[in-house]
C-alpha cells in the first residue's frame, strides 16, 4: 500500500510529466483564442465609445440628420430600422418557418425537394449586394411594368401609379420605400431562417411523431402540439440571428436606393406615443421613404468633417445597442418557450 506513495520509476514519471505539459500548452492556446476575441471586442467598443463620447445623448437619439454635426441625430435611422425590421420579421418568419415545416414534415424526397434543399444552402451564401440588385429590379422597379410606356400602360392604355386598398395608397412599383427594403431583406434572411428551422425540426426525435400518430393525432396536430413547441427554441435562435444580420445590412439597401439624408420618420411617426395617437401613420409607414441606422453611419463616415466621424461612432454604438437588445430578446424568448416544454 505504501508503495503507491513512493515515487514512480523515473521513465514513467517522465512520461506523466510530458503529457501534462502538452495539455497545458493546448489549453493555454485555447484560452488565448477565447480571450483574444473578447479583447478585440473590448478594444473596438472602447475606441468607438471614446470617439463618440459627448455626442451620445438624448438629443442625438431624438433629432433628425442635419448639416450641423451638433444638431444631427439618428432618429430617422432608428425609425427606419424599426419599420424595416418589423416588416422583415412579419414577412420572413411565416414564410421561412412554413417552408421549413413543409420540407421537413410534409414533402416527400423527390428531385424537386432535393433541388430546393440544395438551392437553400447556396442561397445562404449569396453576397447581400446581389440581393440588393434583385430587390431593385423586382420590388423597386417591378421590371418597369408600371413605368411610363411600360407593359401596363401599353396593354391597358392607363398609367397605373398605385392602388387604393382600404384607404391605404400603395405606390406601384414600390419604389424606394420601406416595403421594398423589407422584402429584399426578407429574401436575404429567408435561407438562414429555413435552414435553422429545418435543423430545429430535425432535432425533434421521430419517435415522438410516431407515438402521436399512433394515438390518432393527425399530422397537423402532431406538428402543432408537439413538434413545433419542441423546436421553437432552435427556430427562435435562428430567426434572431438572421434578424441581427438584417439590422446591420447596408449594401443591399444602398443598392435599393434607400435615402441617405432623410429628415423625417416613415409615416411621420417620430415617437412611440404617435403609434397610438396617430395610428393612420402605421399604414403609411411601409410605403414611405426611409433610411436605416447603418446607412446613416455610412453616410456620416463618408463626410469630410471630423465631427461627422464622431457622429458615426455614436451611430455605431446605437446599432450595437440594438443588436444587444435583440440578442437579449432572443434569450428571453428561448427561456420562455423552454418553460412550456418538460424535457
Amino acid at each position: 500500500m505504501t508503495d503507491k506513495e513512493s515515487p514512480q520509476s523515473p521513465s514513467l514519471a517522465g512520461l506523466l510529466h510530458k503529457q501534462r505539459d502538452e495539455g497545458w500548452v493546448f489549453s493555454a492556446a485555447c484560452r488565448t483564442a477565447a480571450w483574444s476575441s473578447f479583447a478585440f471586442l473590448t478594444i473596438i467598443i472602447g475606441t468607438i465609445l471614446f470617439s463618440a463620447w459627448g455626442l451620445l445623448d438624448w438629443q442625438f437619439l431624438t433629432s433628425y440628420d442635419s448639416r450641423f454635426p451638433a444638431r444631427a441625430g439618428i432618429l430617422a435611422g432608428l425609425w427606419g430600422s424599426f419599420w424595416v425590421i418589423l416588416l422583415t420579421v412579419l414577412i420572413s418568419v411565416p414564410m421561412g418557418v412554413g417552408a421549413a415545416i413543409f420540407l421537413e414534415e410534409y414533402s416527400s424526397d423527390n428531385w424537386i425537394t432535393r433541388m430546393i434543399r440544395t438551392n437553400l444552402a447556396n442561397l445562404a451564401g449569396v453576397p447581400s449586394v446581389v440581393y440588393g440588385m434583385l430587390g431593385l429590379t423586382v420590388f423597386v422597379r417591378m421590371f418597369g411594368l408600371f413605368a411610363k410606356d411600360g407593359f401596363v400602360e401599353r396593354a391597358t392604355g392607363y398609367r397605373v401609379e398605385g392602388l387604393e386598398v382600404l384607404g391605404i395608397s400603395i405606390p406601384l412599383p414600390f419604389s424606394h420605400s420601406v416595403i421594398s427594403g423589407a422584402l429584399t431583406l426578407s429574401l436575404l434572411i429567408l435561407p438562414t431562417i429555413i435552414v435553422a428551422s429545418q435543423e430545429a425540426l430535425r432535432a425533434v426525435p421521430p419517435s415522438i411523431r410516431h407515438a402521436a400518430q399512433a394515438l390518432g393525432a393527425t399530422r397537423w396536430q402532431t406538428i402543432r402540439g408537439l413538434v413545433l413547441p419542441a423546436a421553437i427554441p432552435g427556430i427562435v435562435t435562428g430567426i434572431i440571428l438572421s434578424i441581427s444580420r438584417a439590422i446591420g445590412e447596408t449594401a443591399p439597401l444602398i443598392v435599393l436606393g434607400a435615402a441617405t439624408y432623410v429628415p423625417f420618420a416613415p409615416g411621420n411617426i417620430d415617437s412611440p406615443v404617435k403609434l397610438v395617437t396617430e395610428p393612420g401613420g402605421i399604414l403609411e409607414a411601409p410605403f414611405d421613404r426611409f433610411t436605416v441606422v447603418p446607412i446613416q453611419v455610412y453616410y456620416w463616415v463618408e463626410k469630410p468633417q471630423a465631427e461627422f466621424k464622431k457622429l458615426a461612432s455614436a451611430g455605431i454604438i446605437v446599432l450595437l445597442g440594438l443588436l444587444l437588445a435583440m440578442n437579449g430578446l432572443a434569450l428571453f424568448i428561448r427561456h420562455r418557450s423552454q418553460k412550456g416544454l418538460k424535457w
Partner: protein, 270 residues
C-alpha cells in the same frame, strides 16, 4: 434459468369447448418496402381478449406485421401491401376507413418509451385531446383511470404536473401504455415493450399485460422467448417474412410441429 417447458407446463390450457372469436384476421397479407418483400402470405387469426405473441429472429418481419395492424407503416414512404387485414371483419385498408379513428381503436406501445416533453397529465390527455375532448373534468377522469389501469397511478398521483421525462424507464413505459389506453382502444399492439427495461420493471409490465388481457386484445412482439411463454396465450413464429407456425403457446413451446420452430425456441439459431 427455467426452460420454456417449466414456464408453460402449469398453465391451464384455454378451454377447448368455446373457440374464441377472432378480433383481427389477416388473409394472405404481403408487405413490401419498395421492391423488397418483407412479409409473405401471412394468414393469422388473433383471438379476442387474449395475448398473442409474435416471436422470431431479428428482421423476420414481426414488427412490420405488428405495425400493419394499425397502419403505422403508412407513414413510411414507398411501401405497399396485398391481401387483407380485418378488424372485426372490416378491412382496415378499405378506402372509407379513417386511419385516425383506426389508430384510436388499435393502440400502440413502442420498444423505446416515447414520453412527450410535457407533463404526465398532458401526456395521458394527449390522445383524448386530439380527439376533441376539452372538458377538464372528463380529462381528469380519463387520466386517472388510464394511469390506474397501467398500474402507475399510485406512483405519480401527487405529481401529475411534473415532466414525464423525469420518470424512470419502467415508469415511462407504463406511462406510454396508459397513454395508449386513454384513447379507449380495444386492441393494444406492443413492440418489444420491455426490451429496454430492467428485470423488475419487465416483471411489472408483464403483470400488467396479464391484467389488461381481461379487457383488451393484445398483440406483443418480443425477442425474449421466456416472456412470450410467460405472458401469451397464442404464439406465432415468424421467420424470414413467413409465418412458420402458430398455436397455443403451451403447445408451440412444448410440441412444436415445425423443425424451424423447434430450432429457434431451443436456441439453435436466432
Amino acid at each position: 434459468m427455467p426452460s420454456f417447458t417449466d414456464v408453460v407446463k402449469d398453465r391451464v390450457p384455454a378451454p377447448a369447448g368455446q373457440p374464441r372469436t377472432p378480433k383481427i384476421e389477416t388473409r394472405s397479407f404481403e408487405f413490401f418496402y419498395g421492391a423488397t418483400q418483407a412479409l409473405f402470405d401471412i394468414s393469422l387469426l388473433i383471438p379476442e381478449r387474449s395475448v398473442t405473441a409474435l416471436i422470431g429472429p431479428s428482421g423476420c418481419g414481426k414488427s412490420t406485421f405488428l405495425r400493419s395492424l394499425n397502419r403505422m407503416n403508412d407513414i413510411i414512404e414507398g411501401t405497399h401491401h396485398t391481401g387483407d387485414v380485418l378488424l372485426e371483419g372490416i378491412d382496415i385498408f378499405a378506402p372509407q376507413i379513417d386511419v385516425v379513428s383506426l389508430r384510436k381503436r388499435v393502440g400502440m406501445v413502442f420498444q423505446k418509451s416515447t414520453p412527450f416533453p410535457k407533463s404526465i397529465f398532458d401526456n395521458i390527455a394527449y390522445g383524448p385531446r386530439v380527439a376533441g375532448t376539452r372538458d377538464r373534468a372528463t380529462l381528469t377522469r380519463i387520466v386517472e383511470t388510464s394511469l390506474q389501469r397501467a398500474a402507475l397511478w399510485n406512483e405519480v398521483k401527487d405529481r401529475l404536473n411534473a415532466s414525464a421525462m423525469a420518470l424512470s424507464g419502467g415508469q415511462q413505459q407504463r406511462l406510454c401504455i396508459a397513454r395508449a389506453l386513454a384513447t379507449n382502444p380495444d386492441v393494444l399492439l406492443m413492440d418489444e415493450p420491455a426490451s429496454a427495461l430492467d428485470p423488475a420493471s419487465t416483471a411489472r409490465i408483464e403483470d400488467l399485460i396479464f391484467e389488461l388481457k381481461e379487457n383488451y386484445t393484445i398483440v406483443i412482439v418480443t425477442h425474449n422467448m421466456q416472456q412470450a411463454a410467460r405472458v401469451s396465450d397464442t404464439t406465432a413464429f415468424f421467420y424470414q417474412g413467413r409465418l412458420i407456425e402458430v398455436g397455443p403457446t403451451r403447445e408451440l413451446f412444448t410440441k412444436p410441429r415445425q423443425k424451424q420452430t423447434e430450432d429457434y425456441i431451443t436456441g439453435r439459431f436466432g
